[in-house]
């Protein structure tokens, strides 16, 4: 078995890796006043790696590497992988835009920031192609480890330290648990290749309980990443303590990375062993929605509120997955998750971008500091409202379509358990509305708390980031067909 390297297929990873090296070296070489070049290199690198993604998509052939005899490989480039690679790269681009002024103006050294960020992104685009437990593990750790450091970026701030250690320790623990589970899966199936595991699972209808537990333990690792309840504890604390751009990155890219892994292992690996993962995911979904939403109701800090919101949103994204094996839902579920992730990325990044923009002016993340934003920064307030309403799922903003696809999958499944989950989701989307509008109400219904009506200055990069997210949310909301195709394409 000689590894065949398809360089076209690996081009995005290669370009990104090169960029990472260049960023690292450049940071060493540049004089202090030239350091602003570093983010520019990073940005160019990210956009450059998008090019092969596009050419691959145009090319359209499925490329399989490190394949076994049956032709299924450990590393695959297919529409599914490409869709997510594109998502990760675009999200990374937006994150870079969001970060550049935040990092540039802060007291902390900047070169490594981009190095770490890009490394994490590299992990993600590897994850999109990974079809093997080892690759998935490596990708997952490549995603995580840089973000542990990023979360503690503000070295002298105890809160940032706390964010980092919590994220780190829970992360490491959950990957230990995941690995423990994976070791048993390997023990049962004799392979780390997901297709082999699927074969084993479908060939062994009456599988040992230990195998089921092993699958569950594996899922725990991803549950941590996607911040599913009850493995979400790190989320609010870390999101609050970490620098806001990092939080944005964690809540979108890192989370999407976890979801990609989960989708891959579930659809490619564990799909036949329905008893093992479906109930678990059902409970994760229900708990995430309920706990995330209810606790979010009590938050006074906007980042913390968005953290719980992202827990709840994670629950919504899990819903289709939790019913994927029922009825005819499997295709619709995958489509729903992919669509939801794409839309979620746009609206959540947008919301965090606005938070960053506003905190430049107010120096606060308290929701009450948003009072009267509609008066002194109407454009920001409008955009923030758009993002929040989209998160709440109000048409004609993209969020509605995401929720719609979720409900569609639920009803396509049609089983009583699916319907129950659907109703839980429906009720929760109403509860969610309450805390999203808490911010909206502050912005529009209240008088400004701070003196003066000087408007908020938005740096160009941040402005572009917000504009991209805003445009995406509105356009997809009005014409969802654009993402509809992506969701449909992203099949295994």
């Amino acid at each position: 078995m000689t590894p065949n390297f398809d360089f076209h297929a690996l081009a995005p990873e290669i370009i990104l890796s090169a960029t990472i090296v260049i960023v690292l070296v450049a940071d060493l070489l540049f004089a202090d006043r030239e350091r602003w070049q570093t983010p520019r290199i990073a940005t160019i690198g990210v956009l450059a790696s998008l090019v092969p993604v596009i050419t691959l998509a145009i090319d359209g052939t499925n490329r399989v590497m490190f394949a076994n005899a049956a032709g299924s490989g450990a590393y695959v480039v297919d529409p599914y992988a490409l869709t997510f690679k594109a998502l990760f790269l675009v999200a990374a681009y937006v994150t870079l835009l969001v970060s550049v002024d935040y990092i540039g103006e802060g007291d902390y050294y900047q070169g490594e920031f981009y190095f770490l960020l890009l490394t994490s992104v590299l992990g993600m685009i590897v994850m999109a192609s990974a079809r093997d437990l080892i690759t998935i593990f490596v990708a997952l750790e490549t995603i995580s480890i840089p973000t542990f450091v990023l979360a503690g970026w503000r070295k002298h701030d105890p809160k940032s330290n706390e964010a980092s250690i919590k994220y780190y320790l829970i992360g490491v623990l959950s990957s230990a648990v995941m690995l423990y589970g994976m070791s048993f899966i390997f023990g049962f199936s004799g392979s780390t290749l997901l297709t082999d595991i699927a074969q084993f699972a479908s060939a062994t209808p009456d599988v040992a309980p230990l195998f089921i537990v092993a699958i569950f333990l594996t899922l725990v690792g991803f549950a941590f990443k996607i911040s599913a309840v009850p493995f979400h504890f790190w989320v609010p604390d870390t999101y609050e303590g970490a620098p806001t751009p990092v939080t944005a990155f964690l809540s979108v890219s890192s989370k999407a990375g976890g979801f990609v892994a989960l989708l891959t292992v579930v659809y490619v690996g564990f799909f036949p062993s329905v008893n093992s993962w479906q109930p678990v995911l059902w409970v994760f979904a229900a708990l995430s929605m309920i706990v995330g939403n209810l606790v979010a109701l009590r938050q006074t800090n906007i980042v913390r509120m968005l953290a719980y919101s992202s827990v709840a949103q994670g629950g919504f994204i899990l819903v289709p997955l939790a019913v994927a094996q029922d009825g005819r839902a499997s295709a619709a579920s995958l489509e729903a998750v992919v669509t939801y992730l794409l839309i979620y990325a746009a609206m959540n990044l947008g919301a965090f971008a606005v938070v960053i923009a506003v905190s430049r002016r107010t120096r606060s993340a308290e929701i009450s500091s948003y009072a009267g934003l509609g008066q002194f920064a109407p454009v920001l307030a409008i955009l923030m409202s758009i993002f929040l309403f989209s998160l709440a799922g109000i048409p004609p903003l993209a969020g509605w379509y995401a929720k719609f696809m979720m409900f569609r999958a639920v009803l396509d499944a049609g089983t009583p358990w699916a319907i129950v989950l659907g109703v839980i989701a429906a009720v929760n989307s109403v509860i969610a509305f309450f805390y999203y509008t808490a911010v909206v109400r502050q912005m529009w219904f209240k008088e400004p708390a701070i003196e003066g009506t000087r408007s908020v200055e938005i740096p160009t990069a941040l402005g572009v980031a917000i504009a991209i997210c805003g445009a995406t949310v509105v356009v997809i909301g009005v014409y969802p067909q654009l993402f509809g195709r992506l969701g449909e394409l992203a099949r295994f």
Partner: protein
């Protein structure tokens, strides 16, 4: 080949690790407990690999060892930061963020 002894040992290692993580207050000791858990995993993988004559288990274990090293490196750095800021390596002190 006798499988159960390996599995029981690895489970024991794993559980000790879990206990350590939960019970130890010192950040460094917690990190070491995590290492114990990972070693339990490695033991499992190698045992299975040997039994099934599948090499990928050993490859997996190698990856784990490597990445664990990186992880612990980062972890120690973070604990060090905490020690600097709080003058204590105890994890009990890090509870500013809650609710």
């Amino acid at each position: 080949m006798i499988m159960n002894q390996f599995l029981i040992l690895s489970a024991f290692l794993f559980c000790v690790g879990v206990y350590g993580v939960l019970a130890r207050r010192n950040g460094v000791l917690v990190l070491m407990s995590v290492e114990l858990m990972l070693n339990g995993v490695n033991l499992n993988l190698i045992a299975f690999s040997a039994r099934l004559h599948a090499v990928s288990g050993q490859v997996f274990a190698l990856f784990i060892i490597t990445i664990a090293a990186a992880e612990v490196g980062v972890g120690l750095a973070i604990v060090l930061l905490i020690y600097r800021n709080l003058r204590s390596p105890d994890l009990d002190g890090v509870d500013q963020l809650k609710g």
